[in-house]
Amino acid sequence: MSGHSTYEPKTGIERWLDTRLPIVRFAHDTALSFPTPKNLNYWWTFGGILALMLGIQLVTGIVLAMHYVPHVDYAFASVERIMRDVNYGWLIRYMHANGASMFFLAVYIHMIRNLYYGSYKAPREVLWILGCLIYLAMMATAFIGYVLPWGQMSFHGAVVITNLFGALPIIGTPITTWLWGGFAVDNPTLNRFFSLHYLLPFVIAGLVVLHIWALHVPGNNNPTGVNVKSENDTVPFHPYYTVKDGFAIAVFMLLYASFVFYNPNVLGHADNYIPANPLVTPAHIVPEWYFLPFYAILRAVPDKLGGVLLMFGAIATLFVLPWLDTSKVRSMRYRPTARLYFFIFVLAALVLGFCGGKLPDDPVIFQPSGLMLLDADINSFVWLSRVATLYFFAYFWIILPVLGLTETPLPVPESISEPVLSHPATTPAGAVASPEKRG
């Protein structure tokens, strides 16, 4: 895609095909000979892991659709039939349900990697925005998919999320009625959610193609954040990164398999094994773990519309990040001050996730709640969420824009190869070529 092709057709058939449909050349240039920075660490293996997870979700999902019935009277029973009667149905469904969690785990690591190494900066803004769109589509797909088993959590989760749109003035009610296809979440809602849950993964796949295209124009960023200067800075994707990605995938699959085979329901909610009942809401309604930070932001605001806007604002912020970060230095390896704020940001995101799973008014530390300030109980998860929410937005809208102008970064190496070759540790034998150990 970028640079000249090194593909040389060897057989007559390949030569014949190459002049008609150069698909083998395309695959060769994209996945085999593609020049890749030679210093990529394991944080760079999650792209491959994500591609595999998408593939697994597609295959298991298409198979599940062969047995699932999208109707309020049969949906729950058809899922139970998949679990009990369909051959290997339990395995396929557990792979699909836990696969969603693994998909999000990998995407969060992938995104945090971008934040740390400044991969969203020029010339990779479009690559980053495409990634944000994939994330958005993933969230929509995951939410809709969680509704399909039509358990108590499915139903009331759908009620709560669709009602978010009801917070909008004037158009709110027509939009929710339109989404529902009725006056409440009901059979029309389930039916269309099934249709969209089948469609959206293919939208994601299309976005992934664009994402990889946008990646292959500037090429990979790398842990130093320094541009590739010469061929000496790169290695061909195969075998170097096919093997490295392959190893990372194998390790990741161990984690995935441990959930699927040993604790397949630990990430779900017991209430979802109760058939949906529109007349009773479960006592403690929480989304899946990967939505908890956003749920905490939603609940942190005492105003309904404000909470909804802030929650969507958290996602919208990601899209403009390339223009918020004013620093010319990509990698946090050379930005010691920014790095500190970055780690606090990761902590704030984890705290939000933690708060999202708790009841808002519960105390954070011990009983009884005694820290009263201005008639407010500071020792509560809702207040912890507020502090973390404030930091979440401050990091993007204040800290990154200001820090890029005020901080003094460490000297950035001339090239990717330079810190390795000039590293004092290269002289003693055995300590070579591990640039990720520095900084």
Partner: protein, 184 residues
């Protein structure tokens, strides 16, 4: 324009910058295509709105005789729960007493029931925050408490505390007789 072109074949149909027949055809074709797209998009959008059979099930009748004083019965109406609460005299008094309390969505208790029937409170049983079903008798005001995000409603179904912006909705209903109502 025409006077600067020397020796060129004059175009009899396009004197100067006047629109030609070709321009007209372009605009007409473009407008027709845009109109056709819009006309086609609307059915594709509107198909998601409630269908005829869904709308046809929009009203129900309910016999109040089943509800004992102090009791609440939950009926399904338009896929949502409908609270039918038979209030005790002291509960009505408590609700009326709060008419002048600090209310987020001010409404008198009288405006929330039919004239002369203060014991019957008919409400859509979905929290005005995000649509969960509040539990009867809970919360700080003895009305309803929503377990999802902690909204408290009083004995008149008015929002008193928590994130919900509005009172529980009073649906359109009418008394067909002393003991029978039609909702919707």
């Amino acid at each position: 324009m025409a006077d600067t072109v020397v020796g060129a074949t004059p175009d009899p149909h396009a004197p100067g910058d006047d629109p030609s027949r070709r321009d007209f055809i372009h605009i007409a074709a473009g407008a027709a295509a845009a109109g056709a797209v819009v006309a086609l998009v609307w059915p594709l959008v509107d198909q998601m709105n409630p269908a005829g059979d869904t709308l046809a099930l929009a009203s129900i009748e309910f016999d109040l005789g089943k509800v004992e004083p102090g009791q609440q019965v939950v009926v399904k109406w338009r896929g949502k729960p409908l609270f039918v609460r038979n209030r005790m005299p002291e509960q009505i008094a408590a609700a009326v007493k709060d008419d002048h309390a600090e209310l987020r969505d001010p409404a008198t208790d009288e405006s929330r029931h039919k004239p002369g029937k203060p014991q019957w409170l008919i409400l859509v049983g979905t929290c005005t925050h995000l649509g969960c079903v509040p539990t009867v008798g809970g919360g700080d005001y003895g009305g309803w408490f929503c377990p999802c995000h902690g909204s408290h409603y009083d004995l008149s179904g008015r929002i008193r505390k928590g994130p919900a912006p509005k009172n529980l909705v009073v649906p359109d209903y009418a008394f067909l007789s002393d003991t029978k109502i039609k909702v919707g």
